[in-house]
Amino acid sequence: MSQLHGEPYQPKSGFMKWMESRLPIMGLLYPTAVTFPTPRNLNYWWTFGGILMFCLSVQIITGIVLAMHYVPHVSMAFESVEGIMRDVNYGWLIRYVHSNGASMFFIAVYIHMFRGMYYGSYKEPREVLWILGVVLFLLMMATAFMGYVLPWGQMSFWGATVITSLFSAIPYFGDMITQLLWGGFAVDNPTLNRFYSLHYLLPFMIVGVVVLHIWALHVTGNNNPTGISVKSKQDTLPFHPFYTAKDGFALVLFILFFAIFVFYTPNILGDPVNYEKANSLVTPEHIVPEWYFLPFYAILRAIPDKLGGVIAMFASIGVLFILPWLDTSKVRSVSFRPLYRQFFWILVIACIGLGYLGAKPPEGAYVIWSRILTAYYFLHFLVILPVLGILEKPRLLPKSITESVLGNGDGDKAESKG
């Protein structure tokens, strides 16, 4: 299957004609980014792809700027960050945008991922598109984790220690691998330096995978809330101006949400302990990762075995790679899957619950609940999804997207008719 194309580009001015016969860049971009045929019924949950592009750009731009002032050395890192906050022109703004930007990035990516699960966007023929998305998610997690180490506060240091120590759970090679990661016998200056280097590198790898992700999207085209495939030109609209306007509006609302954090509660998403300089001799009372890692942290702690916990944590993301094959249903969208709809929301609640438990101390009922929800998380993907696809009787699908939008109400309406 070749790439989907919209109306081709027709150069109007003499200069563009001259240019297009030498470097046909508009000819490449125009049908894929401007006139790209997009399903006419995408709702606001589909705007988060564009919002994620914005987040990535903001993080890269502010990050490059911060790198002009940051010093990756254990004796200077904390001080240089304070220098950015106090002395650099608008340094406080740029740093708060970057640190809150990481949280915004994860808020957007979680919505994006759950949207994909809700509407079955991972299903045939979009498996590779979904897998590239999971790769992006992993790269984001690695980047965010290493970025959090750079200010060299107490939580930076102890977070780095705990997470790198995960690798010591690997049988036989564990200690070798952790020493390799640290460049020493504990987290120290060599670790900080390499994390800085990788924190600068990984975003550009993300950009590369984003290109693949969008490429894959442009081969299959967007999924849509009904989950049924585009059948005719009538089902689509050119991306511009319809979705540029819609994405633009959603993006500005998102920036508004972002701005309220940056300007009015810039530290609420972070741990106060990270405003204390790293001290390799004193561990903070509670080591808690940033909020976006909490569900995975809860899974890690739920298993009372070092290697088992690490395996469970990685498996919780690994399972997403095979999600397209675990879901046996022939129908994509939740709108036509009454049972899956219930289980989807239970999964959302389980994930939020795991996030809550990840922030709690590992004791008493918290541990028990972590185990229940961890078990449920895997149960959902490994048992419920495969079985549900076989047992569930999906509702009647509309004939086309156009019919669902114009003729016969949309997916939800079709469902209400039975």
């Binding site: 006419r40 709702n43 606001y44 001080e79 304070e82 220098g83 906050m85 106090r86 406080w92 703004l93 708060y96 949280s103 808020i107 609209l237 101006p241 319809f242 306007a245 819609k246 633009g248 509006f249 500005v252 609302l253 920036i255 508004l256 701005a259 309220i260 940056v262 300007f263 009015y264 810039p266 530290n267 609420i268 998403l269 972070g270 741990d271 106060p272 302990v273 405003y275 204390e276 300089k277 009372e285 509670h286 808690v288 909020w291 909490l294 959302v348 939020i352 996030g355 809550y356 922030a359 709690k360 101390p361 109400g409 949309d410 939800d412 309406k413 209400s416």
Partner: protein, 267 residues
């Protein structure tokens, strides 16, 4: 009609998710910690809220408390004298700050003979630390290291409310509580045993204005001062935030109208 109903349902769903996630996000950072370190009551600081600013006179009084009491043991390594006259701060004049700076002895050098020497502080100097290194500081304080105060107001759960409560939280140890040697009893400190002896008493610092020299006022003023040292750009942040939010609201309105116009053709 049906169309609108579904829109409404989508909106309700989106709203619910937003509220649940906001609750999780807001609950997460403080969880687990607030319980042990005692409750610190939320106070009505001048810098609270989206339009909050620092009270210049309060910061000046707070500086005096820091200078005469806290600075004996606590460093403030990220604050320079020049900061005292910068916008959004205590509002000292540059002349006043020059005098303040010159009251401190700063080590400089080496000179042409290769020796370090002491000279009066300049605007560009940072506040000197009371102890040359951590080891001496510990030795002088019964093994405890007095933390740096520059960003302390951001480094504690509860921030300024906690610091105020800590300063006000000294009490006689209740019967049955055995204090370790050199420790004091404090109601808000974790485990209630704190190495810092009660730092300040009524009438310990003479205020230059009409403010009553009470413990409450000392604690309040020095806490506000510490909030400023931790977040010196707070006022600029609030000011810019107002403009940005206003701009984005109008921009969002325009974009919504544009989106409606564009989509009118296909609905």
């Amino acid at each position: 009609m049906m169309k609108q109903v579904t829109h409404f349902r989508t909106l309700v769903r989106a709203g619910l998710i937003a509220i649940v996630s906001a609750l999780v996000v807001l609950a997460a950072p403080g969880v687990g910690q607030a319980e042990e370190s005692g409750e610190s009551e939320a106070l009505d600081w001048s810098f609270n809220g989206p339009f909050g600013t620092f009270d210049r006179a309060q910061l000046q009084r707070g500086y005096k408390v820091y200078r005469e009491v806290c600075s004996a043991c606590h460093s403030m390594e990220f604050v320079s004298f020049r900061n005292l006259s910068e916008e959004g701060g205590p509002g000292f004049t540059p002349e006043q700050v020059k005098v303040i700076a010159s009251e401190f002895e700063i080590e400089d050098g080496p000179n042409d003979d290769g020796d370090m020497f002491m000279r009066p502080g300049l605007l560009s100097d940072r506040f000197p630390a009371p102890f040359p290194n951590v080891q001496i500081a510990r030795l002088a304080n019964g093994g405890a290291f007095p933390p740096d105060l520059s960003v302390l107001a951001k480094a504690r759960v509860g921030g300024p409310d906690y610091i105020y409560a800590l300063l006000m939280g000294y009490e006689e140890a209740p019967a049955g509580v055995e204090l370790a040697i050199g420790m004091s009893y404090n109601t808000v400190f974790p485990n209630h045993q704190i190495a810092m002896p009660e730092p300040i008493f009524e009438d310990a610092v003479e205020y230059d204005d009409e403010t009553e020299p009470t413990l409450e006022n000392y604690a309040r003023d020095v806490t506000a001062f510490m909030m400023w040292t931790a977040e010196p750009k707070l006022e600029a942040r609030h000011r810019m935030g107002f403009k940005v939010v206003l701009f984005l609201l109008i921009f969002a309105g325009l974009l919504y109208a544009t989106k409606r116009k564009v989509w009118a053709a296909v609905h």
